[in-house]
């Protein structure tokens, strides 16, 4: 006996399948913009081809990176040069430089895409910089030695990892005031907010763990043991992924139970990490071994190793979906 599907449902199924194919195709054409700190350049990777497609010289020891939401502009911080390079991602060229008074590392974009948030690497401050003019719009006092900066997807809340004070600062972006500080593990470096804006994850270099903070209650709600010297966290497929610099691993943990699942061997001294927009892949920059590892977020296997320039750090958001 054959059953006939209602034509409406079949059409929906077909459309869904088509949408998935299109989504996958788009995801495979993602590009990565990797600052190579010792190499003084930006490696641009085609993640479908699995290789470098362009290299842009960026002097001044580039390390931090942020990507506009439309993927058209990347921002790279040069720690020794003390400037931010504004990069046209399609044309593969530096449009201009924005000078900074403090050493720039951690950087993120505001919701409008008109301003940048920059953590003072040495000064306990968050800077808001107008991208068009390069002018300093505002300065806010936060904790000591801030490194990572993240923004909720609605743009309302900024979180900084204040590594010198073992805390995060939670900031109201519109009012430009600090709402709270929450103590986390020792020396938090990278900070990641989930897409719902519900939780914050910090990678704590000195205590070898990840702190989980609930943004609504502004409380520490969990701690996950990971490999040695964790640097940053990515989220995908209900899982958390941390780069363990000394371990040479990516630690995987369950976001619901906060239990460790697996450690995946990657390159040497993994640092910057980010999930693809579709959550299918995790990309990891290996600072010592000069390569990017691609991890399948479902099988948890390394599926590609892509060589890049010397000393890739990629601290921040370095992926874009190609239009």
């Amino acid at each position: 006996m054959t059953r006939k599907l209602p034509s409406g449902l079949a059409a929906t199924g077909f459309a869904l399948a088509l949408a998935l194919v299109v989504l996958n195709a788009a995801a495979l054409a993602d590009e990565a913009f990797i600052p190579d700190q010792t190499g003084d350049e930006l490696s641009i990777l085609d993640l479908e081809k699995g290789r470098i497609v362009a290299r842009i010289p960026i002097p001044g020891k580039p390390a931090g990176v942020a990507m506009s939401r439309d993927g058209r502009t990347a921002f790279v911080t040069s720690t020794e040069g003390k400037y931010i390079s504004v990069v046209d991602t399609a044309e593969r060229r530096v449009l201009r430089r924005i000078a900074t008074s403090d050493t720039p590392l951690g950087i993120a974009l505001d919701h409008s895409g008109a301003s940048l948030y920059l953590a003072g690497f040495y000064q306990p401050r968050l800077y808001k910089i107008d991208i068009a003019s390069g002018a300093l719009e505002a300065t806010l006092d936060i904790g000591a030695l801030p490194s990572g900066v993240a923004v909720t997807s609605d743009g309302a809340v900024i979180v900084t990892a204040d590594r010198g004070d073992d805390q995060i600062s939670i900031i109201d972006a519109a009012k430009w005031t600090r709402l709270a500080t929450v103590k986390v593990g020792a020396h938090p470096f990278g900070v990641t907010i989930d897409p719902a804006g519900a939780r914050v994850y910090t990678a704590n270099v000195e205590s070898n763990d990840i702190s989980v903070v609930d943004l609504a209650s502004r409380k520490l709600i969990g701690t996950v043991k990971v490999g040695k010297r964790p640097y940053a966290v990515a989220l995908a497929n209900g899982l958390g992924f941390s780069t363990d610099q000394y371990g040479g691993t990516v630690s995987v943990f369950d976001l619901a139970t906060l239990q460790p699942i697996k450690r995946i061997s990657v390159g040497e001294y993994p640092e910057g990490i980010e999930a693809s927009a579709d959550g299918e892949r995790i990309y990891v920059t290996n600072w010592f071994s000069n390569e990017v590892s691609a991890i399948d977020a479902h099988t948890l296997q390394v599926i590609a190793r892509i060589p890049v320039g010397d000393g890739p750090r990629a601290f921040g958001k370095f992926l874009r979906v190609t239009p």
């Binding site: 020794e80 030695l145 590594r163 010198g164 020396h187 000394y246 040497e268």
Partner: protein
């Protein structure tokens, strides 16, 4: 000039650092420079890997590194438990701890917990050493270091710069590997 530069290996760098005026370091806990440095030194040794590994396998025996007067410590070769203190010929000390140990791969990794930047101009230093098999029953030993410069803030003085840190660490590795080669090739 070349001869002078050649002498600027580890002990040379130490003496030089001592001879320079004292630098006042800002008292910022856990701070380090913004640019991480790395160096890899390797050497081919005309001896089988097992023989070379036997010389370096004990974390508490650094007698193969010139300039080390003694090594004391505890915890054997157990990662996260083993700690050692190296005492240099000039009396300065370096405290280190083991965080990876793999006798099958013939490698281990350690970090410096405490060193005066006048002794070795680095911060946040970690390193690993591995013995690899090479053609003809020979070995290649690779020693890799990752660290920040000795000066934790902006605008370092020359003796605590990125370049000074790189030079000191590669010099140290070079010297150690050359002596390891000599030991392994001359041992019965």
């Amino acid at each position: 000039m070349a001869a002078i530069l050649k002498k600027l290996f580890w002990t040379g760098a130490v003496l030089l650092a001592f001879a320079l005026p004292q630098v006042v370091l800002p008292q910022v806990a856990l701070a380090h420079g913004p640019t991480r440095q790395k160096t890899t030194e390797k050497i081919e040794i005309n001896a089988p890997p097992a023989k070379v590994w036997a010389i370096i396998a004990d974390f508490h025996d650094m007698s193969w590194l010139p300039g080390i007067a003694k090594t004391t410590g505890e915890g054997g070769n157990t990662p996260d438990a083993a700690k050692r203190q190296l005492t240099l010929d000039n009396g300065a000390t370096i405290d280190e701890s083991l965080y990876k140990y793999d006798p099958a791969e013939m490698s281990y990794a350690y970090r410096i917990d405490n060193v005066d930047v006048k002794v070795l101009p680095v911060n946040n230093y970690s390193a690993s050493i591995i013995v690899l098999p090479a053609d003809g029953g020979k070995s290649v030993v690779e020693w890799r270091g990752a660290f920040y410069r000795g000066y934790p803030n902006n605008d370092p003085p020359p003796e605590l710069s990125d370049e000074a840190a790189l030079k000191a660490v590669s010099g140290l590795f070079r010297k150690g590997l050359e002596n390891l080669k000599k030991k392994a090739e001359s041992a019965p």
